[in-house]
């Protein structure tokens, strides 16, 4: 429907024709769907390389030196990145260029890109619907042909859910595959930079470029298998027989009829094609969402405390220290961010309830162990990316619990630190995209990407 920009599509094209194409698509789509917050003044990247002439968008919480990175927040509205993110440097080093920064939920907290000071991003498939979030602008920039690769961040599903809602591929790597240096922190133990793209191959190639052991991020590591995907011939992939775990019982994690039917249809297709599919109960899946909110909010309250209006960002000159900080934060943060900071502060406060936060940490360890066991019996877990199809703009904005519920199937990968990819494998009766998520064990990123490529090819 829209002339998207795939790696194959730009192979023979000049920078000039690519940028012309991008400009046309921006003109056509941006005011309509509110995708880019800012288009950068870009030029052909003089570094040739594996990603020569590949147009990239970056989410507004990822740093590109001397460019504004505001996290769609008033408090950082004019904040200019003092350095580039590690992954941005890597991409630029291989010849890619950056088109602009994309809209998002403020500080990546949300599932609809409605909590943005720049207004919501609309779903380019049908602008009455949300694009998903928090990387809504990133997903929209792919399907409107503004970029080939969109960098986003995924703390509990923020890459995969908008990819699913927009009909793109969204990859959240294993914790540590991409350095977080230059990603504004939301929840440090859950955050990962991720990629939204048109197809698995483009994503894999970019991931190979972006991966590396960054001396500035102690959690980052070099993944040799992933590195090999830079010049891998995906069509040659055979692989030994892989076992896919699927869910048959959704009573603890309710999903819409439409999603359930589509999921069942997908499973029967896989069976027909002789994939090995087994039924599983993903352990503690029903606890993952509340667990996620305890962990994420506790860390967010701490991570966001640095925004005090003294050193950078929204500032004022009124009253004493505490009055100034209070004013900057009151005016600087939006409702949802405040809600999460307050929740995070409450649950970590001494004497609050039953040591909820400590228990959450223990449960996280338990979950990791349980999924280690699960992944010793299956290679992948196939789940819906979201429990429902895209919802309408404004539909859930005043119902935080309903909004949070979007992440029912995505947070588990962040909690256990594993990798997952959302693949566009269905549509609703109304023509809206449905995404299904393939999750693998931590550090199985290369296998996940290879297998996803084959699955997409087999399913046509």
């Amino acid at each position: 429907m829209m002339n998207r920009i795939t790696f194959d599509g730009i192979k023979e094209k000049s920078f000039k024709s690519i940028s012309k194409h991008i400009n046309e698509n921006i003109k056509k789509n941006n005011s309509k769907f509110n995708i880019l917050i800012e288009k950068f003044n870009y030029d052909k990247n003089p570094n040739g390389g594996l990603l020569e002439n590949v147009p990239i968008t970056i989410k507004d919480n990822i740093f590109y030196k001397n460019h504004i990175a505001s996290c769609a927040s008033n408090i950082l509205k004019n904040y200019r990145a003092p350095y580039s993110a590690y992954v941005v440097e890597k991409l630029l080093g291989e010849g890619a260029f950056i088109v602009g920064r994309t809209n998002m939920d403020e500080f990546a907290m949300g599932s609809s890109t409605e909590y943005s000071i720049y207004g919501p991003t609309k779903n380019p498939i049908d602008p009455k619907f949300v694009a998903g979030g928090s990387s809504g602008g990133a997903a929209a920039s792919i399907i409107t042909g503004i970029a080939s690769i969109a960098l986003g961040s995924d703390t509990g599903g923020s890459i995969r859910q908008p990819a699913a809602f927009c009909g793109a591929v969204g990859y959240k790597p294993t914790y540590g595959v991409f350095s977080r240096r230059g990603l504004v922190a939301f929840s440090s133990s859950l955050d990962q930079i991720g990629i939204i793209g048109n197809n698995v191959g483009d994503i894999a190639k970019s991931a190979a470029v972006m991966n590396g052991k960054d001396p500035h991020d102690l959690s980052s590591y070099l993944d040799r298998e992933l590195k090999h995907l830079a010049e891998y011939d995906f069509d040659s992939y055979e692989g030994e027989r892989k076992i896919i775990g699927v869910i048959h019982d959704f009573s603890d994690t309710p999903i819409s009829k439409e999603i359930e039917n589509s999921y069942k249809k997908l499973i029967s297709e896989l069976n027909k094609m002789n994939y090995e599919v087994v039924s599983i109960f993903p352990p503690f899946l029903e606890y993952s969402l509340p667990l996620y909110h305890i962990l994420a909010n506790a860390e967010a309250a701490s991570n966001l405390s640095r925004y005090d209006g003294l050193k950078y960002g929204l500032s004022n000159n009124e009253g004493n220290y505490f009055e100034r900080v209070k004013k900057a934060r009151t005016e600087g943060f939006g409702r949802e961010v405040k809600r999460r900071i307050l929740a995070g502060t409450l649950i970590t406060s001494e004497g609050y309830d039953i040591d909820l936060y400590k228990k959450a940490q223990k449960l996280r360890v338990l979950l990791k162990k349980n999924y280690d066991v699960l992944f010793s019996t299956v290679n992948f877990v196939l789940m819906p990316t979201t429990p429902t199809s895209p919802f309408k703009l404004g539909e859930k904005i005043n119902d935080p619990i309903a909004m949070y519920n979007n992440d029912a199937f995505t947070t588990i990968a962040n909690i256990i630190g594993s990798c997952a990819i959302s693949l566009p494998l269905g549509t609703t009766s109304g023509g809206l995209p449905i995404g299904f998520q393939l999750m693998a064990a931590p550090k199985e990123d290369a296998e996940l990407l290879k297998f996803s490529y084959k699955l997409m090819k087999d399913l046509g």
Partner: protein
């Protein structure tokens, strides 16, 4: 009826480690640079930055934990202490809470009077905060200090006598200096103390409150603030007032403590693990390898001096006041076994002359072997102590010993020469010899005076006396 009071004091001592770089970034760890010149995005808390741990900090923390006889956590990690304050760039401090490097230790220390020990609750690694300066109503922040590595040494609340605190702090400082982990310079703020004090009327009851005096940056301030607080609390308690937990500051000018905040306002620090720094899993082997780096503590050295060198505790204590002084002693002792004499000269006239000339022991030009030679010559009666005293001002500045002897026209009196001189004096003064033999011992000073006269003050009086007595009773 006058009731008895028991004082309960615990100390939190912060020591800045002397690593070359800060704890989480590559900025220089140095004192005295112009404000905000040793800073980067990490130590000023810019978004998107991550702490990169300087492993040298862990090494030094482990060595110090060994020295304080702490148990070591094989699993150790950082936590975040969350609180808003303008000196805290991220509004949380990266510190250790649940799994500190060292815990349950016992620090043995000496004073001039003897030995003592205090239980150590924990030793933790953390980042220093920025420095705040109040300037005509403005708050000025210097981030140079933000991110300098600190060790926080938390003692159990088991000091009961304010007089025990100075020796503890002094010895903690010496230990850090001897192990080369910190310069512990209080003027530069590289050793700072928070003191907790409360008073109980019953020895067996731990008070239900404690008053914290924050940021004490001199030993005198620690002592005076605790004495003040001790008296203030006793006065309030004797009036029947109930005391509550609070944080106070010490006002050096007016010699008073002032209330900073009450308990209700003391923050709940909401500790959470620092997810950006993976926990450390240390192997027994790895940490055991560091043990030998913690061997040469002043405690060990004093024991050694007292037990093996038979030096008085008081002098051993003085000798270990500075590492360089002790090391100089060791060098001199390679050339002469008169350990006590070395120490007497070193702590006495050498130090006196250095101070007078305003030079440090490091800058001193008097070679250890020269000092040893001088001491040997005194022993042999070739030089008198009195004379050496006049020579030292020049010796410490590097004057050659032989040249000085030549210039001063000193005739080196060996024992034999001295004997010959004394023989002559005895022969020349038969009347006085007779008096001595008849029991007039005081006549001895007449002979010593004669010896001095003959030798031009260069004969050693003690040695002369010894020879005289031997010869006179014959």
């Amino acid at each position: 009826m006058k009731s008895k009071h028991y004082t309960v004091i615990g100390l939190e001592t912060h020591i800045q480690l002397n690593t070359t770089k800060k704890i989480f970034c590559n900025c220089k760890n140095s004192y005295g640079a112009p404000p905000n010149t040793n800073i980067c995005p990490i130590c000023t808390g810019q978004p998107g930055t991550l702490p990169v741990f300087n492993k040298d900090v862990l090494r030094k923390a482990l060595v110090f934990s060994y020295a304080l006889n702490c148990k070591l956590n094989l699993f150790t990690r950082f936590d975040r202490k969350n609180y808003f304050y303008p000196d805290t760039p991220k509004n949380y401090q990266i510190t250790q809470h649940d799994y500190p490097v060292g815990y349950d230790g016992e620090f043995y220390f000496y004073s001039e009077k003897g030995q003592d020990s205090i239980k150590i609750k924990s030793i933790q690694m953390e980042e220093d905060s920025a420095k705040i300066k109040h300037d005509a109503g403005d708050i000025l922040i210097d981030y140079n200090r933000a991110g300098i590595p600190l060790l926080e040494i938390i003692s159990e609340a088991s000091f009961h006598d304010i007089n025990n605190i100075m020796p503890y702090l002094e010895f903690l400082k010496r230990t850090a200096r001897f192990l080369k982990i910190s310069n512990c310079n209080m003027e530069e703020g590289s050793l700072r103390v928070d003191a907790n004090i409360s008073i109980s009327t019953d020895k067996n009851i731990i008070p239900d409150y404690k008053i914290e005096i924050k940021n004490l940056n001199s030993f005198i301030a620690v002592k005076n603030s605790l004495l003040y607080e001790h008296d203030r609390q006793i006065e309030l308690l004797s009036k029947g007032k109930k005391l509550h937990e609070e944080t106070r500051s010490w006002d050096e000018k007016n010699k008073k403590t002032h209330l900073l905040r009450k308990k209700e306002a003391i923050s709940d620090y909401r500790f959470i693990p620092e997810a950006n720094i993976p926990p450390f899993l240390l192997s027994e082997k790895e940490i055991f390898a560091l043990k030998s780096d913690a061997d040469l503590t002043p405690y060990f050295i004093i024991n050694n001096l007292v037990n093996n060198y038979h030096i008085e505790l008081k002098q051993a204590y003085k000798l270990t006041a500075h590492k360089n002084l002790y090391e100089y002693f060791i060098e001199v002792s390679k050339y002469t076994y008169s350990y006590k004499k070395i120490i007497n000269w070193l702590l006495g006239d050498v130090v006196f002359n250095l101070r007078k000339a305003d030079i440090t022991i490091d800058e001193m030009k008097l070679l250890p072997e020269t000092l040893a030679k001088v001491i040997e010559m005194i022993e042999n009666g070739e030089l008198s102590g009195k004379l050496v005293k006049t020579m030292l001002p020049e010796l410490v500045k590097g004057k050659d010993l032989d040249k000085l002897i030549e210039e001063k026209n000193i005739i080196i009196y060996s024992k034999k020469e001295l004997e010959r001189t004394i023989d002559k004096i005895i022969k020349d003064n038969p009347k006085e010899v007779k008096l001595y033999k008849n029991g007039k011992e005081s006549i001895l000073s007449f002979f010593i005076g004669k010896v001095m006269e003959e030798t031009g003050d260069q004969g050693d009086p003690a040695l002369s006396k010894e020879i005289l007595i031997n010869k006179l009773i014959k």
